[in-house]
């Protein structure tokens, strides 16, 4: 992946200037474009006003962009070094939220820092990836393929997911699990193990069903048949499809979406923003957003393939998959392909935590890519 004359530099640390020049500007450009589209949509969602959504989102994106640059330019070795520490720190936060939530008698996902609300489950998506990447970075293929080698990472992945389910936040929990499974998949866990897991999941599904909250059961049932409850839970999906379908190929025009502006479309500034976008800009607008996201995702996997270090590859794959899941679940949800699980469309939906966590992910991905020629070495920081 790297040219032979670069080999001599591969264990060296790059200067800040070199790192900056190594940044993938095409990748950043796509991110900027999507964020700009997002702000335009929020402007429309407020019937052509900067407040209450477009302007705050702009500010958050600015902060997020700074965070992304910061995380992309810091020393890549820090991620490897503090991966476990970060994981456990965030795990503690998750437990704290869970406890506080029980005290507060209700669903609790936030830690309020006045300026920002921190959602530990969002940060966990990143630290989980770092933790697993570090773990597998130091494993041999034999260890990976052995059943014993999987016990620790499976437990470390399941525990936070279980906490998130308890919150209860099914969407985030599922994303955590899918990300974990993807990492297990790429590191080379045998396919029969996944088959076994799949079989087990099928058998235990009825039991799990029992433990779901009523509103979660409703969401699944409503997804399977939206007309079941056209004024209640199914209302969102039906109205979303009407908005999308009535937009047609070219859309109804900026600020002219009837479904969204007459409030038939719920949550038009958050989970259903893609619907509003496709109503106003039609299939053309919808496809542009999908393609931009596809470029970002393909970029990510390309980075993964050209990064030298195993840790870097895994971090990119994990975070990139996480981003992919956001995009896919959100759009599939508003198109009526998946149940409404409350996953926002990153960079476009209004919301601070997701904006920051996604920008942070981009920063870390970029950092891995910036230092693509650096061999982090398996034994230098590993446990073995």
């Amino acid at each position: 992946m790297y040219k032979y004359y670069e080999a001599g530099f591969k264990s060296q640390t790059l200067s800040l200037k070199d790192r900056f020049y190594n940044l993938s500007f095409g990748y950043i450009f796509c991110i900027l474009l999507l964020a700009a589209i997002g702000i335009i949509c929020l402007y429309s969602a407020a019937n052509g006003h900067w407040m209450p959504w477009a302007w705050p989102q702009f500010v958050r994106f600015g902060i997020g962009f700074g965070l992304m640059l910061l995380l992309s330019l810091i020393d890549v070795k820090l991620y490897l070094k503090y991966a476990y520490l970060l994981y456990f720190a965030v795990l503690l936060l998750l437990i704290a939220v869970e406890v506080a939530g029980h005290v507060g008698m209700g669903a609790q996902r936030w830690i309020d820092l006045k300026i920002f609300k921190i959602q530990p489950s969002e940060i966990m998506k990143i630290t989980m990836v770092l933790m697993l990447a570090k773990y597998f970075h130091s494993c041999t293929l034999n260890q990976i393929e052995s059943t014993r080698g999987l016990v620790a990472p499976v437990l470390m992945a399941l525990f936070p997911a279980a906490l998130v389910i308890l919150q209860p936040d099914l969407g985030t929990a599922l994303m955590l699990m899918f990300t974990t499974i993807t990492i297990f998949f790429v590191v080379g866990v045998q396919l029969w193990k996944f088959a076994l897991l799949g079989g087990f999941a099928l058998i235990s599904a009825p039991i799990a069903w029992h433990f779901l909250h009523d509103y979660q059961k409703n969401r699944v049932l409503t997804f399977l048949n939206p007309e079941r409850d056209p004024l209640g839970a199914g209302y969102h999906i039906i109205q979303s499809k009407i908005a999308l379908g009535s937009g047609g190929v070219f859309g109804k025009g900026f600020l002219n979406g009837t479904q969204s502006h007459l409030n038939f479309l719920p949550e038009k500034h958050t989970d259903f923003i893609y619907t509003m976008l496709s109503e106003e800009f039609g299939m053309i607008g919808g496809i542009v957003v999908i393609l931009l996201n596809l470029i970002i995702i393909v970029y990510g996997y390309l980075f993964a393939s050209r990064v030298t270090s195993y840790f870097g590859k895994l971090v990119i794959i994990g975070l990139n998959t996480n981003y992919f899941l956001y995009v896919f679940i959100n759009i599939a949800m508003v198109l009526g392909l998946l149940p409404v699980v409350g996953v926002p469309l990153p960079l476009i939906s209004y919301g601070g935590t997701v904006m920051l966590s996604v920008m942070a992910s981009f920063g870390i991905i970029l950092c891995m890519d910036v230092n693509r020629n650096l061999n982090l070495g398996r034994s230098s920081f590993g446990d073995d």
Binding site: K241, I242, A243, G245, G248, V249, A332, L337
Partner: protein, 602 residues
């Protein structure tokens, strides 16, 4: 190291699978987008419009009703309402307080309004007061800046300019009730009114018109954002009635404080020129909302202002029925114009004695004299010889005993008994004595005022089968009026008798003045008992009718026509408990017919 290479290789292999998988999934999304936005676009566009566009019906103006000369009898009046829109007020209490200073609201009304505001969405107008006068409207408009949230809205209210004069035949309109058949989408529109009684009900469908509609863009909460399209609909059909409002007024006023009914008919066409049932009520009260107290007083009034006596009141025709018996006797050859019966004041039949109203008797009477004097014995004899079936046959020919088909609700059919009817009703044979009583229009015989005026018309128009109608007949309809199988000569003889009643020196209605353009009136009086007078009372020389309580006094009837030479107008008058046909009913009939001739209604 080898295994390390394998570890890297495995990762790259699986990464390519992952990448391809992701791309495939992304393309699934694009495919779905294509499906929804291209293939199913039309379906969803329709659904989006259904969401966004609310259609509201517009109430069309109801048809106007005129009398035969173009005087408005029923029309639509602009109705100004004061409404409040909660969300447009700065302070609801202040606005309401300001409003109350201009237009007081009772505590009850205010509570109702506040409740409505609370339960309805904030942008929906709530009615504060309607039927505002011009002064109210200008006062509100002047003070509008101090009362944000108050708006003035105009609608249409049905009004009846002649009020009490037209109540019984026009009826009135009211809100759609549960019982009404909901065959028109207009019925769902709040505030829509339909004809509840009278001609408003009969012609309702045509008066109603066709609802227009207005398409509005609404949001998910139902708030109106803008008007898209307006379709005005079709105004209701207007009607010209045969009523002459001038005659109507004179006829109704002629009753004074009396209770009863009068109908004036054009004898050649059956067109109704005046239609009176008194006491009456003001239909405007009912369309504008009537208080429970006012309603109860109408409902419980012993003179029944709400019931239309002209078609629903069934009265014994009394002596007015002698017209039928005289005709039947002449037609059946029982009597000739010259033949006579001797009236000694009493007639024994079996072990019963039937008296003439004049106990000293009338002596020898031919049919014209008998009509003039209203001699009971003559008609006892004639009826006895005719038998009830022949009397009934003539009564039917003249329009008695069945509904006239005037289309007003609750029209009664009256009763003309015959042998079959008696057997069916009581299971016993018809008695001769019953024929005798029927001969003077007592006993089972019942008629309505509208039947009596129809009878009068048929007798004096040369025997043509006219039927009452509120709308003018066209030529074809007039040509269709059938000649009844009654000989003209016999009709003329009866008419001669009716002329004598009013114009001979000693007819029963001779005292009644009739002086207009040299025209003469003919007619027949009738006085019918409301209660049975016992044999003992009869023997004792009786209490005078005037001394009885009102509701026990005799009904007074008069059927008449004018001018005698070429009859044009027929009238039937009944004065409930008016004691005497000649004293109470005949003067009213005379007044009405004189007015009709004076107005020269064509």
């Amino acid at each position: 190291m080898n295994r390390d290479n394998d570890k890297g290789k495995t990762l790259l292999q699986r990464l390519s699978v992952l990448t391809i998988g992701s791309i495939v999934l992304i393309f699934v999304l694009m495919g779905r987008l294509y499906f929804l936005q291209v293939i199913q676009a039309e379906k969803y566009k329709t659904m989006a419009d259904e969401n966004r566009i609310a259609t509201r019906m517009l109430i069309p103006p109801r048809g106007i009703i005129y009398d035969r000369n173009g005087t408005v009898l029923a029309t639509n009046e602009q109705n100004f309402q004061a409404l409040i829109v909660a969300e447009q007020t700065i302070n609801l209490d202040e606005t309401l307080a300001q409003f109350k200073e201009l237009m007081p609201l009772s505590a009850e009304e205010e509570e109702k309004i506040r409740k409505e505001i609370k339960t309805k969405q904030k942008f929906i107008p709530v009615k504060l007061k309607d039927n505002l006068s011009w002064e109210d409207v200008s006062a509100l408009q002047l003070n509008a800046p101090y009362m944000p949230g108050i708006i003035i809205d105009e609608g249409l209210n049905r009004t009846y300019p002649l009020g009490e004069y037209t109540a019984h035949f026009l009826g009135y309109v009211g809100a759609v009730s549960e019982k009404d058949e909901k065959d028109d989408p207009l019925f769902m529109v709040p505030g829509f009114k339909i004809g509840k009684t009278g001609l408003e009900k009969v012609f309702d469908e045509r008066l109603r018109g066709q609802g227009g509609n207005i398409k509005l863009e609404v949001n998910a909460m139902g708030r109106v954002m803008q008007e898209i399209e307006r379709n005005r609909g079709l105004e209701g059909e207007s009607f010209f009635l045969t009523i002459d409002s001038r005659l109507q007024k004179v006829a109704q006023d002629a009753f004074g404080k009396n209770s009863g009914a009068a109908i004036v008919m054009d004898v050649h066409s059956g067109e109704i020129l005046a239609f009176v049932s008194v006491p009456s009520f003001d239909p405007n009260l009912l369309t504008k909302g009537i208080s429970q107290q006012e309603w109860n007083s109408l409902l419980n009034n012993e003179r029944k202002p709400l019931s239309d006596k002209a078609v629903t009141g069934q009265y014994s025709p009394g002596s007015t029925f002698k017209i039928v018996v005289a005709l039947a006797a002449l037609e059946n050859g029982i009597i000739t114009p010259k033949s006579t019966y001797n009236c000694s004041g009493a007639m024994p039949l079996g072990n019963h004695i039937f008296h003439c109203w004049r106990h000293s008797g009338h002596g020898k009477q031919n049919v014209v004299e008998a009509l003039k004097n209203s001699c009971d014995i003559f008609f006892y004899q004639a009826a006895l010889e005719l038998g009830i079936d022949k009397i009934a046959d003539m009564a039917h020919r003249l329009g008695l005993g069945k509904k006239t088909g005037i289309a007003l609700e609750n029209e009664q059919s009256g009763l003309i008994p015959d042998e079959k009817w008696k057997m069916k009703r009581f299971g016993t044979k018809w008695q001769k004595g019953e024929s005798v009583i029927a001969g003077i229009g007592q006993g089972y015989v019942l008629t309505t005022p509208i039947q009596l005026v129809t009878m009068m018309s048929r007798v004096v128009n040369g025997g043509y089968e006219v039927s009452p109608s509120f709308v003018k007949l066209n030529m074809a309809q007039k040509d269709k009026i059938r000649k009844l199988p009654i000989s003209k000569q016999n009709l003329e003889i009866v008419k001669e008798g009716l002329f004598e009643v009013v114009n001979a020196k000693n007819g029963t209605a001779t005292g009644v003045k009739f002086n207009i353009n040299g025209a003469k009136m003919g007619g027949k009086t009738g006085t019918t008992q409301v209660r049975r007078i016992s044999m003992e009372e009869r023997r004792k020389g009786i209490i005078k009718d005037e001394d009885l309580p009102w509701h026990l006094r005799n009904h007074a009837l008069f059927v008449g026509y004018a001018p005698h030479n070429q009859p044009r107008y027929a009238v039937a008058v009944i004065v409930e408990h008016g004691s005497s046909g000649s004293g109470a009913a005949a003067p009213i009939a005379s007044k009405i017919l004189q007015e009709a001739i004076k107005l020269d209604i064509k």
